[in-house]
């Protein structure tokens, strides 16, 4: 199973600053391994973020997002203590959901 995400969520004024690190190979499908075999494409395809029970962000990603992806975004009107739930699904159907609380 995929490693957990690292989520940091901090209020700055009236806005929550949320950063997430995801553990994922993000293989393009164009790279060859040492044996010369093409490494099959394997990348996160969709991301959702819920804050305080509401969907605030949804994204779609291709293989050009860097390996071990990093995303940062801001949510106005969130409060300290709100729960942040982040989910990703990749092109093989692997998925991962992690939570954090806004500090």
């Amino acid at each position: 199973m995929a490693d957990p995400m690292k989520i940091r969520a901090q209020m700055k004024g009236d806005t929550a600053d949320i950063r997430v690190l995801m553990s994922h190979a993000m293989e393009t499908g164009q790279r060859k391994d040492n044996a010369g075999n093409t490494v099959p494409a394997h990348y996160i395809q969709s991301i959702t973020v819920d804050v305080g029970g509401k969907r605030v962000l949804q994204g779609q990603t291709g293989p050009a997002i860097s390996r071990n992806p990093v995303f940062g975004f801001k949510v106005k009107g969130a409060k300290a203590g709100d729960k942040v739930v982040i989910n990703w699904v990749d092109n093989k159907g692997d998925k991962r959901t992690d939570e954090a609380t806004i500090g």
């Binding site: 957990p4 690292k6 690190l21 553990s23 190979a25 993000m26 071990n68």
Partner: protein, 281 residues
């Protein structure tokens, strides 16, 4: 000391023999680039952005999990591992190695000590670790994640590698000597690239490892997240690769020579604040 250097010289002779059908000359570090080029300034601007969210944290978390939850065949755990500050104490231990460990009668750097403990307490096999000591795109070995965790537990602390035990002092001296020792098919030493200010390879500035404020840059770069490939590499790897780049034979994993070089670099950086784990190009 003589003996160890002797080993190195013998190896060098071998390398020289191979050099007969060597590749084209390596690009020498261009001397005296301007102190800070525009390109370096541009890299540094975004370096902060990259450091802010360093994927090294993912490996740190994996290492922490191994340190805190993994059990060996006899039920032992890393809680018994003494990194120099007492069994199980991780906080601040990294910046106080290499150091003398009486239980093994050796000076060990952090990576060597971590591997020692993982073999002793968690039942890892040293020969397995030696099969793939360094990370690649397919796999980051467990000990690399644990080293990353241990290093991160010294973030923000002053580097304070001890120089009390005679062996600690001797190890530093050997490291200093290896650093300046010119040999190999191109008559390089570590100091050829890292012994003066303002050196670089292509667009990379090279720290002068004789100065504390620059030695710390090299020290805290590794363990570091390598953006090319996207995995963690350690100081042991960095030293190995420097030997390779000098066209020296590569040292065995966890060799005395590498511990000595690390002792030299770390002691030089003593007093500086550790800000790693790093993120590198």
């Amino acid at each position: 000391m003589k003996q160890r250097l002797g080993m190195l010289i013998a190896a060098t002779a071998l390398a020289t023999a191979f050099a007969a059908h060597a590749q084209p000359a390596p690009k020498k570090a261009a001397p005296k680039a301007p102190a800070k080029s525009a390109i370096t300034a541009e890299f540094e601007k975004f370096r902060e952005v990259l450091e802010e969210d360093n994927p090294a944290e993912l490996f740190e978390a994996r290492g922490e999990e191994i340190w805190k939850t993994r059990k060996g065949p006899d039920g032992a755990s890393m809680a018994q591992c003494d990194l120099g500050l007492g069994p199980g104490v991780v906080k601040g231990a990294y910046v106080r190695m290499p150091r003398w460990f009486a239980d093994v009668g050796q000076v060990m750097d952090a990576e060597r000590r971590v591997v020692h403990c993982m073999v002793k307490y968690l039942g890892y096999k040293e020969e397995d670790i030696r099969k793939q000591p360094f990370s690649n795109e397919q796999r980051t070995p467990d000990h690399v994640s644990v080293v990353t965790y241990v290093a991160a537990q010294s973030r923000g602390m002053k580097i304070a590698a001890p120089q009390k035990h005679p062996k600690e002092i001797e190890t530093y001296q050997i490291g200093k000597e290896i650093f300046a020792y010119r040999a190999g098919p191109y008559d390089f030493s570590c100091a050829t690239c890292h012994g003066a200010d303002g050196m670089r390879i292509r667009t990379q500035d090279l720290p002068n490892l004789r100065k504390p404020d620059q030695a710390v840059r090299a020290y805290q770069g590794w363990p570091g997240y390598r953006m090319t490939g996207g995995f963690m590499l350690t100081q042991q790897w960095r030293m190995n690769d420097c030997f390779r780049q000098q066209r020296f034979p590569e040292p065995n994993y966890l060799s005395d020579s590498v511990t000595a070089l690390l002792a030299y670099m770390t002691v030089t950086a003593n007093g500086q604040v550790y800000k790693g784990p790093g993120i590198k190009r």
